[in-house]
Symmetry: C2
Subunit: 475 residues, 2 copies
Amino acid sequence: VLVRPPDVILPSRASIDRAKIELERRLGPSKVLTGEDACGAYANDDSDVEGRRADVVVIAASAEDVAATLAIAEACEVPVTPRAGGTGRTGGAVPVAGGIVLATHAIARIKEIDRANLVAVVEPGVVTGVLHAEVEREGLFYAPDPNSLDSCMIGGNLGENAGGPRALKYGVTSDWVLGLEACLVGGRVLRTGKRTVKGVTGYDVTALLVGSEGTLAVFTEATLRLMPKPPGIATALALFVDVRAAAAAVGAIVAAGVIPRCLEMLDAATLAAVRGAGVAVDERAQGMLLIEVDGESAESALLRVGEVVSASAGLVDIVVAQDGTQRDRLWAARRMLSKATRKLARHKLSEDVVVPRTKIVDLLERTDEIGEATRVRHLTYGHAGDGNLHVNFLWDHDEERPAVDRAIEMLMRATVKLGGTLTGEHGIGVSKAPFLAFEQSEELIGIQKQIKDVFDPKGLLNPGKIFASRGHAGC
Amino acid sequence: VLVRPPDVILPSRASIDRAKIELERRLGPSKVLTGEDACGAYANDDSDVEGRRADVVVIAASAEDVAATLAIAEACEVPVTPRAGGTGRTGGAVPVAGGIVLATHAIARIKEIDRANLVAVVEPGVVTGVLHAEVEREGLFYAPDPNSLDSCMIGGNLGENAGGPRALKYGVTSDWVLGLEACLVGGRVLRTGKRTVKGVTGYDVTALLVGSEGTLAVFTEATLRLMPKPPGIATALALFVDVRAAAAAVGAIVAAGVIPRCLEMLDAATLAAVRGAGVAVDERAQGMLLIEVDGESAESALLRVGEVVSASAGLVDIVVAQDGTQRDRLWAARRMLSKATRKLARHKLSEDVVVPRTKIVDLLERTDEIGEATRVRHLTYGHAGDGNLHVNFLWDHDEERPAVDRAIEMLMRATVKLGGTLTGEHGIGVSKAPFLAFEQSEELIGIQKQIKDVFDPKGLLNPGKIFASRGHAGC
């Protein structure tokens, strides 16, 4: 019941053998894994995309190792799948054409935290949560907070342009990247961007590379923007009679001129899963908002949110965290959602569509209709403040999978029809490649493929991703 | 004493004649200006770049006119220089290869202000200050505020990725653009991006187009992000014994965890110009900071700034604006700087280099050394909070120009050596094209030229800009 790998051209046996020999010669045997078990360990990510097991895994220890690997890949015409934390949701790090997996998790230094200039220089293997802790120790703040922050890595965050709950106020990864060091197929190293907040020299190649899903270059270093850590945080949990009432409250909060740093929503089915995981939630509640504001006036901002929410139709209860422990408890429920809901069925797929904030209720209605039409169970939670919702489809039996695929396709079409976008933070990868043309014109897709050709004319870097069709490059 | 136009290939007389006939046929004669006076009126911008007068000026009234013009330009192989407000500082809107000037100032509707989704849809001819007023009337906020906001237009802001004082806290134009409609040479229309804050479908072509200085596409519509208007503003003016003391205070303010929305600095020579324009400034002051904070806790944030500044060495005085009138008065001095300093000499060139915040003092020292070495008068003011400084060179006699050119080149080299960037908000255009390789590697420049080729293979769109060498595309 996995997503089948796309139809890509596989490297020849001779090419692979030549690449293996060259890699071992240049990098030494300890960084070059060729055993079945080793290659199998790097064949998946946190999606259900089925890979074609790589022939060789390179555990790069430095930017030089990355460059050497990409030089050999070009010389031998062997495809390369870059990989950092391997926590992606759309198959970005899954090798679908065999060849080389280029793992960057061991290039993992925080090279610099420059407090005065509010800049950090980091390597791709740094775990996002570790970076948070390190900069916060200095009174600083790096906002992007994907749910997998305890295991995902900056390299993957850059590749997928990762978001997270705090994106509502602080934006996604690309908003925090000032410059990059990236290696191209063939081994050339590109330094892009700047170390200053402002800087408009030439085209914004940095922004082009962030979110390119490992198809243009492999990151070896990033210069990240930091900010002073917001002084105050205030968190509240509001319970509603249904998720529509919760969605209406989202609009009312923003209309009141408050942009919370997080504004998370849970629907009835998600709340049932939370209760099932042992968290006590008022039984009358069939919709929930988790609201977090920050800044020097966090307390007064939360008071204003409280007033707005209290005036909302369908409110069951509102709870304000009185201290850090209570805040952690409120967040624990949100953070464990991905795992708690996974227990509801043998299989689960979490989409990350985005619609304009005013279309959230419409999207929920469309999702219900899709569930009825396809008879696929579903639940929805996510970053309601920015309209980025994780619609989850659940099923137990393999024979249900075609219905799930139908449901996903219907969801993608409905999202685009509502003025939304296929993906807010997971990327297109393999999973959503068939739907790209729902959102983007032939013109725009064509331009992107030509840009891909500029960076990777042989189509060797992360083939089969973003663009769904035949060829090394998936072009 | 103008910057000579770059060495570009000029269109043939026959091509131009054919284009004129086609344009008049498709657009009607009223939108197609061919007189010498009319073409002369569109030959300059707010830089000293000397143009080669266009052969025809198209006053586009719609996206369709833009598409038709770009189709004819390709068919006839005539270069096109796009233009909106014509207020640029590096020659971006100056035709340097003759051909067509494509003016978009008349495509000027604010098509939509969507309060609930915090989105505006605007056309390229909208004056930035008009957009500010319109969204603020709805309690909303669009942050980018280039100094020329009363005359510059969104189309040009997009092309140059314009900044302004508020960029320190709120970022530059690209941080506010969600999606674009842009027309390519040949007339194809590209819609990029999204209407939601999040959205990572495919490459970030939107970010690639913003700041591409009219060399990749002509904007016909932009979907912009808005935010609720910050509820409070508090403004102070601090005077120091010298500009080094002012620069040190900048670092201290940021170290205290406050990010003002603006943090503007004026050096002694600039203050002299301000006094010369009739503004009374304490004679002991040889350096000044204009500090503005906003948000619900603006008052308390300014108090904190006041404490930090009061503890700074070299403080002469600090004045807090007590009301809007006083605030306007403080800002008036800053806003008129560009004009006031222009009176100091017959000629003035304002650079917009950026260095890391901690390198501001070094840059000021380098600038003094450059002034001494070249005997060119200079003054410096600008957005000190983000290290973006307007170093101005002044001269009266044409024979001084070679020394000015030497000074500019030395400044560019010094900036890059300090870890900075050539341009924070004016773009490269014609003026800085010779210095591009000071900052960027051959690899990076090469990739950008290849990207240019993807969008404009014949090199017809805004030739001679960014990349300094021969050919229609300046490649």
